[in-house]
C-alpha cells in the first residue's frame, strides 16, 4: 500500500451497532464499486458507519466536510507557488483517486451544484478524473470509492443535488435506532448503565415527536452520548441534559420548556 495512505488508515475498530443489514449492503456495493449515498438525520451514526466500514474493508478514509464556498479546485487540486515557480497540489479527491481510498464527502448538498459536477466522470464506468488545469487524466485506482452523506431533513429547497448527480449513487437510508439498540449504543459509548441510558433515549424519543412543530431535528444519539458521559462523570442529570441536549437544540422558549418537561418526566422535578 502506498505509504502516503498510512495517516488515513483506521487502526482500531470504531464501535458501530448495526440497525439492519446496512453492513452487508455497503459491502456488496463496495464490491461493485458503486458510489454510495447515506441519508439520515444528524447524529444518527452515518459518519461512524463510514469509519467502521473503512476499518472493516481495510481502506484508507479521506473525509471532507463540504460547504457552499467550496469550488471544484478545492476538491481536485490547484497550482500553488513555491520558490521555483508554480507547483501542482492534489486536492483531497485526487489524492483518494490516486491512493485507492474511500473519499467521504460529508453534507454533500452544502456544496454548490456546479462544483459537484467534477465527480461525474469518477462515478460512472469511466472512473477517471480529468485535471484540466494540470493537463492530466487520472485513472482511478481500482480500490477508489466515493461515499457522500447528507441530511434530507433540514436542507432548504434551494440546496439539493442535481438529478444527474443523484442518479450515480446507490443509497442507504439511516434513521435513529430502535429503542433497545439506541440504549445499547448510548450505554456503550457514554459508560452509563442501561437503566439511565433508557431514560435518556426516552427523552430523545419524545423530542423527536416535536419534529415539524418548530424543531428541525429531535435530540440525536450523539447528544445522548454526550449527556450520558457527563452523567457518568458525576454531573446531575438535569444539568447534563440541559447542557448537552435541550439548550443546544433550539432557541425557542416554548420548545425549551417542553424539552425540560420531558427531562422532568424521566428524572423527576428538579430538586
Amino acid at each position: 500500500m502506498d505509504p502516503r495512505s498510512h495517516p488515513y488508515l483506521i487502526e482500531r475498530e470504531p464501535y458501530y451497532r448495526a440497525a439492519g443489514n446496512e453492513v452487508a449492503l455497503f459491502t456488496a456495493a463496495h464490491a461493485r464499486s458503486l458510489p454510495m449515498m447515506l441519508k439520515g438525520p444528524t447524529g444518527c451514526g452515518k459518519t461512524r458507519f463510514v469509519e467502521h466500514m473503512a476499518w472493516r474493508l481495510k481502506r484508507p478514509l479521506i473525509t471532507l466536510a463540504c460547504n457552499e464556498d467550496m469550488t471544484a479546485s478545492d476538491l481536485v487540486g490547484r497550482y500553488l507557488l513555491d520558490a521555483q515557480g508554480t507547483v501542482w497540489h492534489d486536492g483531497p479527491l485526487t489524492l483518494a483517486v490516486r491512493l485507492g481510498a474511500i473519499c467521504y464527502l460529508d453534507e454533500v448538498v452544502e456544496m454548490r451544484q456546479d462544483s459537484a459536477v467534477v465527480i461525474h466522470p469518477l462515478t460512472d464506468d469511466r472512473r477517471m478524473l480529468p485535471l484540466d488545469k494540470h493537463g492530466e487524466l487520472v485513472k482511478a485506482h481500482p480500490d477508489f470509492r466515493l461515499v457522500v452523506s447528507y441530511n434530507p431533513g433540514y436542507q432548504s429547497a434551494a440546496k439539493d443535488m442535481k438529478a444527474s448527480t443523484r442518479q450515480r449513487f446507490g443509497g442507504i437510508d439511516f434513521d435513529f435506532l430502535p429503542v433497545d439498540a439506541e440504549v445499547e449504543v448510548v450505554s456503550h459509548e457514554s459508560g452509563v448503565g442501561p437503566e439511565l441510558a433508557t431514560r435518556l433515549v426516552r427523552i430523545a424519543a419524545q423530542s423527536r415527536a416535536l419534529r415539524g412543530r418548530g424543531l428541525d431535528e429531535g435530540i440525536s444519539t450523539r447528544m445522548l452520548v454526550h449527556a450520558g458521559a457527563m452523567i457518568a462523570e458525576g454531573i446531575a442529570p438535569h444539568d447534563a441534559c440541559a447542557l448537552a441536549m435541550t439548550t443546544p437544540l433550539t432557541d425557542d422558549h416554548e420548545l425549551q420548556a417542553a424539552l425540560a418537561g420531558f427531562v422532568e418526566a424521566q428524572f423527576g422535578p428538579r430538586p
Binding site: 490547484r78 508554480t86 432548504s156 418548530g214 422532568e264
Partner: protein, 665 residues
C-alpha cells in the same frame, strides 16, 4: 391616551344615551330608569357605551342586561371585569342568540372580577404553546389546550376536562401555590396523556351509582399512572408534589378518604392508619402485582371499596372533584349516553341519564346553499381593557379564486433557511478577477505569476470580493373602499376612489417585477362580523386585463375597519419570502364602523395592528387624502410613516414616490 372617565366632560353620558336611543329605544328606556339608582361612583359614560355596544349586536341581550343593571352593583364597581364579561358573552355566543340572551340574563359578571382567576388564565394562555409541545411529546399532537368557561367564584373550582379533541383547564387554580402552577400544568397534561394512552374511553356507565363510578375512576387514575411511570419514571416525582393529603389535612369524609387513598396508591412511603385506606392499598397492590392491564380485577376492587364506603354512610359530596389537584374529572372514561352541548361536558356524576326517543323525521335532503366565502378571524385591540379581544373580527373574502393554501403551507418549512440566504451582501454572488477586493483570487494570482514568468504583461486583476444584491420587497397596496371614497376630492371633480385607483395602477405598473412583488387589495366593513376583503391583484398575478377589469369594477360602500384589514394584509405578506415587506394604505379618512361608538377604539386598534405587523417584519405606510388626518394617522402609523396629499392630482405621484423611496431602502 385619554382615560375617558377621569375627566368626564358633562354631556358625554347624554351624548352616549342619545346614541343608545338611536340603536334600541327599549334598552335606552331601561338604562335611563336604572341610572339614577346606581352608586355615585359608577362610571356612567363607560357603562352606557358598553350597553350600546351590546345593543348594536344583540338588542335582546342588551335589554336583558339593562333590566338587571340595578342588581349588579358589585359588578359595576369593577368596570373592567364587567367589560371583559360582556365582550366574552358576545364572543362566546356569537352564533347562538338564545345562549347569548341567557348569558346576559343570568351569568355572573363577577366571574371576571377575581384577579387570581385572571392571572391564572393569563399564565396558562401564555404557556399554551409550550404545553401543547409537551403534550405532543407524549404522542397527542392534535389535542387543543384551552380554558373552561368562566364560572362564578362562589362555586369550587372545577377539575380539568379531557376530551378526544381538547384538554381544558380550569381558569382558577386556587389550591395550587403560584410557584407550582407550571408543574401543575405539566402534571395535569401527563395525567391526561396517561388516560389517553392506557384508559378505555367512553365505557358505558350503565346504572352504576355515582359513588361507584367515582371509585372506579380513582382506581383507574392510579392504574394508568402506574403504567405511565414505567416509561416515564420522573413523573412519579412530579405527581408527588401534589399528593399532600394526610389524616390531619384531609379528614375522614368521602373526599378526604379518597384523597388519602389516592396518595397511598401513589406513594409507597406514605403510611396511613385508616383501615379502609389500608385495605384499598393492599388490594390494589395485589392486583397491580399480577397484571396492570387486567381491568376486571381493578373494577371489582373498586366495587368493594365503594360498598365499604356506603357501609360507612359516606356520601359523595355535591361538588366532588378527584384529588389531588392535577387530576381530571374523569368524564372521558364514561359514556353517559346523553348528548350534552359542548359547554356543559362538566357534568356532575350524580346526574341520571335518560334515553332520547329515536328521531323519526327523515333527514332534510333539500340542497342548501353553501357559503363558500373564506372567513378569517382576527383579534381586536380594546384600549380600555388594554387587551386583545380574541377572534373578534371576521374578514370575508369572495371565493372566486382559490388561494393555494396547501402550497402556502408547504412553503413554510424552508422559509427560515431562505431568510438567512437572502441577506445582503451575498456570498453566492462571487466577483472574481477584480482590480480591488477583500481577498486574493488565488487562481487569478497564480495565472498572473505564470504570465509574469512567461514574459507576458500580467493582467493585474487578482482580487475577488462577493457581490451585493438589492433587497427584494413585497408590497400590499391596501385600498380603502368605504362609502366615503365616493365623495369628490375637495377642489376637483374626481371621486376619491378614482384617485386611489389611479395611484394603485401607477404603483402596480412601476415596480420592478424581477425583484419586487406587489399585490393590490381593498377592504370595506359592515360591523365586526363582515369585513369584506377584495384581492384585486395577487402577488403571483400579472397586472393585465383581468386585474384591471377587477380594479375598474370596484365600488365604494360601507365603512372602514382599518385594523382588521391591516392584520389580514400582514397575514398575506407573512407567506412571502422577500427581504422587506410593506403595506401601503391608501385612504381618505379615519377608521370607523357601524358597531363602534367609541371614537378612539378603532384608531387604537389600527395602531395596535400596525405595531403587531411591525413585529411580524411588515412595515406599514399610509397615504391619505384627509387634510385633517394629522391627529390620528400619526398615532396609527408613527411620525414618519404617513403622507398627507392635499391635492387629487398629487396623490398618485405621492404614492408612487413614497413607494420608490421605501423600496429603495
Amino acid at each position: 391616551m385619554r382615560p375617558e372617565w377621569s375627566a368626564q366632560p358633562t354631556g358625554l353620558v347624554e351624548r352616549r344615551l342619545a346614541v343608545l336611543r338611536h340603536i334600541d329605544a327599549e334598552t335606552h328606556a331601561a338604562v335611563c330608569r336604572a341610572l339614577p339608582e346606581l352608586d355615585r361612583e359608577v362610571d356612567r359614560a363607560a357603562l352606557v357605551d358598553l350597553v350600546a355596544q351590546v345593543a348594536a349586536e344583540a338588542p335582546d341581550a342588551a335589554r336583558a342586561l339593562a333590566s338587571r343593571l340595578i342588581h349588579l352593583s358589585d359588578a359595576l364597581a369593577d368596570p373592567m371585569a364587567l367589560r371583559k364579561w360582556a365582550l366574552h358573552g358576545l364572543q362566546r355566543h356569537r352564533e347562538d342568540a338564545k345562549a347569548r340572551h341567557q348569558f346576559f340574563e343570568g351569568h355572573d359578571p363577577l366571574a371576571f372580577a377575581d384577579h387570581r382567576t385572571e392571572d391564572d388564565s393569563a399564565h396558562l394562555l401564555a404557556r399554551r404553546g409550550a404545553l401543547s409541545h409537551y403534550l405532543a411529546g407524549f404522542g397527542f399532537a392534535a389535542h387543543r389546550i384551552d380554558l373552561l368557561e368562566p364560572q362564578a367564584t362562589a362555586l369550587p373550582a372545577p377539575a380539568l376536562v379531557i376530551s378526544n379533541e381538547s384538554i381544558r383547564f380550569p381558569r382558577r387554580t386556587a389550591e395550587v401555590p403560584v410557584a407550582q402552577r407550571g408543574a401543575w400544568q405539566r402534571a395535569a397534561l401527563a395525567h391526561a396523556a396517561a388516560h389517553l394512552q392506557h384508559s378505555p374511553l367512553g365505557r358505558p356507565a350503565g346504572n352504576r351509582q355515582p359513588m361507584l363510578l367515582a371509585m372506579m375512576a380513582l382506581v383507574e387514575d392510579a392504574r394508568v399512572e402506574r403504567l405511565m411511570v414505567r416509561v416515564h419514571p420522573g413523573l412519579h416525582g412530579l405527581w408527588s408534589l401534589f399528593h399532600t393529603a394526610t389524616r390531619e389535612t384531609a379528614g375522614f369524609d368521602y373526599a378526604g378518604l379518597a384523597a388519602r387513598l389516592a396518595r397511598a396508591l401513589h406513594d409507597p412511603e406514605y403510611a396511613d392508619s385508616n383501615p379502609w385506606v389500608q385495605k384499598g392499598r393492599s388490594a390494589f397492590e395485589h392486583a397491580a402485582a399480577t397484571n396492570l392491564h387486567d381491568l376486571a380485577e381493578f373494577d371489582s376492587l373498586a366495587r368493594l371499596l365503594a360498598i365499604d364506603m356506603e357501609k360507612m354512610r359516606q356520601k359523595l359530596p355535591l361538588f366532588y372533584r378527584p384529588q389531588p389537584a392535577y387530576r381530571d374529572d374523569n368524564t372521558l372514561l364514561w359514556n353517559f349516553n346523553a348528548a350534552l352541548p359542548e359547554d356543559e361536558t362538566r357534568t356532575i356524576v350524580r346526574e341520571d341519564f335518560e334515553l332520547r326517543p329515536d328521531e323519526k323525521t327523515p333527514p332534510d335532503l333539500r340542497p342548501v346553499e353553501v357559503d363558500t366565502r373564506r372567513r378569517t378571524r382576527y383579534p381586536e385591540w380594546d384600549h380600555q381593557l388594554q387587551a386583545l379581544r380574541p377572534d373578534w373580527v371576521t374578514v370575508i373574502e369572495p371565493a372566486s379564486r382559490p388561494v393555494r393554501d396547501a402550497a402556502a403551507r408547504a412553503m413554510r418549512q424552508p422559509r427560515v433557511q431562505l431568510r438567512g440566504l437572502a441577506r445582503t451582501p451575498d456570498r453566492a454572488v462571487r466577483r472574481t478577477r477584480q482590480a480591488e477586493g477583500d481577498e486574493l483570487d488565488l487562481n487569478a494570482a497564480v495565472d498572473n505569476l505564470i504570465q509574469l514568468r512567461a514574459g507576458i504583461a500580467p493582467d493585474g486583476r487578482v482580487f475577488q470580493r462577493h457581490g451585493r444584491r438589492r433587497r427584494s420587497t413585497a408590497v400590499v397596496l391596501l385600498m380603502d373602499l368605504s362609502e366615503s371614497t365616493k365623495r369628490y376630492v375637495p377642489g376637483s371633480f374626481t371621486p376619491v376612489l378614482e384617485v386611489e385607483k389611479r395611484a394603485a395602477t401607477l404603483v402596480a405598473e412601476s415596480l420592478d417585477i424581477a425583484l419586487d412583488r406587489i399585490a393590490v387589495h381593498g377592504f370595506s366593513s359592515n360591523g365586526r362580523h363582515e369585513v369584506h376583503y377584495e384581492r384585486i391583484k395577487e402577488f403571483d398575478e400579472a397586472f393585465d386585463a383581468e386585474p384591471r377589469r377587477r380594479m375598474a369594477g370596484l365600488e365604494s360602500g360601507l365603512s372602514t375597519r382599518m385594523g382588521a384589514a391591516l392584520r389580514h394584509a400582514a397575514e398575506a405578506l407573512s407567506r412571502e419570502t422577500t427581504d422587506h415587506k410593506l403595506i401601503l394604505l391608501l385612504t381618505d379618512g379615519e377608521p370607523s364602523d357601524v358597531d363602534v361608538f367609541d371614537d378612539e377604539h378603532l384608531v387604537e386598534d389600527a395602531r395596535h395592528a400596525v405595531a403587531w405587523a411591525t413585529g411580524q417584519g411588515v412595515r406599514s405606510f399610509c397615504v391619505t387624502l384627509d387634510r385633517h388626518a394629522d391627529g390620528y394617522v400619526r398615532r396609527i402609523f408613527g411620525a414618519r410613516n404617513y403622507l398627507i396629499a392635499n391635492r387629487a392630482d398629487a396623490f398618485a405621484g405621492h404614492a408612487g414616490q413614497t413607494l420608490v423611496r421605501l423600496v429603495a431602502h
